[in-house]
């Protein structure tokens, strides 16, 4: 059963006449890892913006299960159902890694036994130690920031994970670890994982590949 479904989706940025996405009809299901590939500027990030509700398609419809996502509360959707790993991370630079993760949990408003412990567990999962966890984002490397963004997206245990080049700044070994986590989430916990990637290894490791 599809969790996200695109029907004749087209998108054009306001004030431009170039249609970036044209009549897309994709289906995303639970328990699978999807890869979206394409040249730079093809519109991969734009597609993720539509899927995360940050932008609405100019034509066509996107369904979350069987609800038009245009008609649901986008904030609720973003804070609970979908975890987004942005290409540019979008972390709060003045907060520590830990605080960034906990803030997402707070916004989702779900109950956790011990938020700190849960956040630390996630950070460890993406190979970040206690010391890095208590450092401000600005003082972390690009790859470390990317891993904080992954931990944050996972923090409230969303059904769907949207990741824009989540391994773009990572070495081969760390990339393999992260991909393993994504496969686990899909295959063992039944999540729907949608990755945008330039990496052939990542595309290889996913179940379905869409090419833009």
């Amino acid at each position: 059963m599809s969790v996200l479904k695109l029907e004749h989706v087209s998108y054009r940025y306001a004030g431009t006449d170039k249609t970036i996405l044209n009549d897309l009809n994709y289906t995303f299901e639970k328990g699978r890892v999807y890869s979206i590939v394409g040249r730079s500027g093809a519109g991969k990030t734009t597609l993720l913006s539509l899927l995360s509700g940050l932008a609405a398609p100019t034509d066509g419809k996107i369904y979350l299960e069987d609800k038009d996502i245009n008609k649901i509360d986008k904030y609720e959707y973003r804070s609970k159902y979908v975890g987004v790993i942005f290409q540019s991370f979008n972390l709060l630079p003045k907060l520590t890694a830990m605080e960034n993760v906990i803030l997402s949990m707070d916004i989702a408003g779900k109950e956790y036994g011990d938020k700190k412990a849960h956040a630390m567990e996630l950070l460890k999962k993406v190979s970040l130690g206690e010391e890095e966890a208590s450092r401000r984002i600005l003082k972390l490397s690009g790859g470390q920031q990317q891993r904080v963004a992954i931990a944050r997206a996972l923090s409230y245990n969303p059904e769907i994970l949207l990741a824009d080049e989540p391994t773009g700044n990572l070495d081969g070994e760390t990339q393999a670890e992260i991909v393993k986590i994504f496969r686990q989430l899909a295959h063992e916990e039944g999540k729907c994982i949608i990755l945008v990637t330039h990496s052939p290894e990542v595309a290889e490791a996913s179940d379905i590949v869409y090419c833009l």
Binding site: S49, S88, L92, L103, S104, I107, R152
Partner: protein, 534 residues
């Protein structure tokens, strides 16, 4: 909950900016606190003195209104001659007004000394001179234009001096004043006069009892129980006998108005004031009228009589200034333009509050300016603040924080900073407001006095003329109006009302400056912010 935590964290993270906002709010709070305290002090002073105020009022002829209705001097004179003060009976009617607490009245008549009595005289006008003058002057026209202070000397009360000059008839050596009740004898109530021997005559005494001054008693070797004889200045044959029931001492016998007037006539000398009941004096005047000889001047046709005339004066008392104000409004409407209701108490009380009220008014302007400028500065600072934090807003929205929650967080940050500053400002304001108010008040009093002094220098009299000379005193002006009985000290200023007002100001400032922030937050599109990040 996490919103509050975020807000606090955010305040700590941008200390510099928040300290700047805090300082601005602190300055606003401190100056507002002082300004509000001044206003509060003025309000308190007004209430307090109002509570202790015994309000009395009189109906007087409004000369100005009367004269302005006349074209030329002749008709003015005519109008003035026809213009009578209200009779006691008329005044009694207005006393029925439900706002009036009490009504009392006095009558004063001038007498000459009869056998065996001599007036205390420092002027040389007594006795023979005034007898002489009585032959020359037309009774009923004597001393026209020269005011008659009545018992002003003793009571310090405002009197109907201005239109009564002639009506008392020829000036004798003594002024006998009849009182309707004990309440009317203000100088004995407020303690400026006291009975030192014998006792006060009974209210409504009809036994011709009177009290005389200590000086007069000593001068004529009189004691309680003695009888004195007074004569009609118009007709020395016509005499009246009074029995001395008591001897009084007047603490203010050297009062300026009295001593000034006693240079004109012995009857104004405070020593020559004889007090009796209104009933007694009324009886004397009635008897005098019966035996009077009426003559008509052949050339002018003016009728004159030798009968004793009395100057009557009614006083209304009120429980509060408000009651007086209502009475004034209602009664003046009924009386028409030529009479006014005036209260010396209310005007001197207002006078005493004047510097503080001026100060309070300036404090009000100052407050408005401070709040206006402060408000604008805070709005501008907040707009900059929001622009700076655009990215933060975009991220929070992108990870699903609702915009109104973001706005609440920003408002909370502002509120915390504002309130911390207001608490400090109120504390400092409380500490300085009393000395600052007293300092400003002293300056205000000085400048009020200076402008009064200038008037005195320029005109030789205070604004409104000298009541003593029966000039054209402002209704209700008291002889000592120019003196410094101003409220010059306040002891407490900042109270819970001021603190509540400050909190109100804090909330309003936060809302105003926060509004700008909230509106821009609500307008931001997270995607646009994030994609325009660089």
């Amino acid at each position: 909950m996490y919103i509050l935590r975020n807000a606090l964290r955010s305040i700590l993270q941008s200390k510099g900016r928040n300290i700047l906002i805090g300082i601005i709010v602190l300055v606003i709070a401190l100056s507002s606190c002082v300004a509000l305290s001044i206003r509060q002090a003025a309000e308190h002073a007004r209430e307090n003195s109002m509570e202790n105020l015994e309000v009395t009022a009189q109906i007087t002829v409004n000369r100005q209104a009367m004269m302005s209705g006349q074209q030329d001097k002749e008709s003015m004179k005519q109008a003035m001659a026809n213009m009578e003060g209200l009779s006691i009976d008329d005044m009694k009617q207005y006393a029925d007004n439900s706002h009036v607490k009490g009504f009392y009245y006095t009558a004063s008549t001038s007498f000459n000394a009869g056998d065996g009595l001599e007036a205390v005289d420092t002027t040389g006008t007594a006795d023979s001179e005034s007898e002489d003058s009585s032959d020359k002057e037309t009774p009923g026209q004597g001393m026209e234009g020269v005011g008659m202070p009545g018992d002003t000397v003793q009571s310090g009360q405002q009197e109907q001096k201005k239109d009564m000059g002639g009506r008392m008839g020829v000036q004798g050596d003594f002024t006998v004043t009849g009182y309707s009740s004990d309440e009317a004898m203000i100088s004995f109530i407020n303690g400026t006069s006291s009975i030192i021997d014998g006792s006060m005559f009974a209210e409504n005494d009809v036994e011709m009892n009177c009290v005389v001054s200590e000086e007069l008693a000593a001068y004529n070797q009189l004691s309680v129980g003695d009888t004195i004889t007074l004569a009609n200045p118009n007709n020395e044959e016509e005499t009246y006998q009074f029995t001395i029931s008591g001897i009084y001492k007047d603490e203010t016998s050297s009062d300026s108005a009295g001593s000034m007037m006693s240079a004109f006539s012995a009857a104004f000398d405070s020593a020559n004031q004889i007090y009796t009941s209104y009933a007694n004096l009324q009886d004397v005047v009635a008897r005098s009228e019966e035996s009077a000889a009426v003559t008509t001047d052949g050339t002018t046709g003016v009728e004159s009589t030798t009968a004793l005339r009395s100057q009557e004066n009614g006083t209304y008392t009120f429980a509060s200034v408000d009651e007086y104000q209502v009475f004034k409004e209602e009664t003046e409407a009924e009386l028409g333009d030529y009479y006014t209701v005036t209260s010396a108490d209310v005007s001197s009380y207002e006078q005493s509050l004047q510097p503080l009220e001026n100060l309070s008014r300036y404090a009000g302007y100052f407050l408005v300016i401070i709040l206006g400028i402060g408000g604008v500065i805070l709005i501008v600072m907040n707009l900059f603040n929001i622009r700076e934090r655009k990215y933060e807003i975009g991220v929070l929205a992108a990870i699903g924080m609702k915009k109104w929650k973001i706005a609440v967080q920003f408002i909370l940050e502002l509120l915390c900073v504002t309130f911390a500053a207001i608490i400090i400002g109120a504390g400092a304001g409380t500490a300085v407001s009393v000395p600052v108010t007293n300092q400003l008040l002293a300056q205000q009093i000085e400048s009020t006095q200076q402008s009064r002094q200038q008037q005195t220098d320029n005109f030789g009299r205070g604004a409104g003329g000298t009541p003593e000379m029966g000039g054209t005193p402002e209704a209700g002006d008291t002889p000592d109006a120019g003196q410094s009985d101003y409220i010059s000290q306040i002891s407490s200023a900042t109270d819970i009302t001021v603190v509540l007002q400050l909190i109100g100001i804090g909330i309003i400032l936060t809302i105003i400056s926060g509004c700008a922030a909230v509106i821009s937050i609500l307008r931001y599109e997270p995607l646009r912010i994030l994609s325009n990040r660089e």
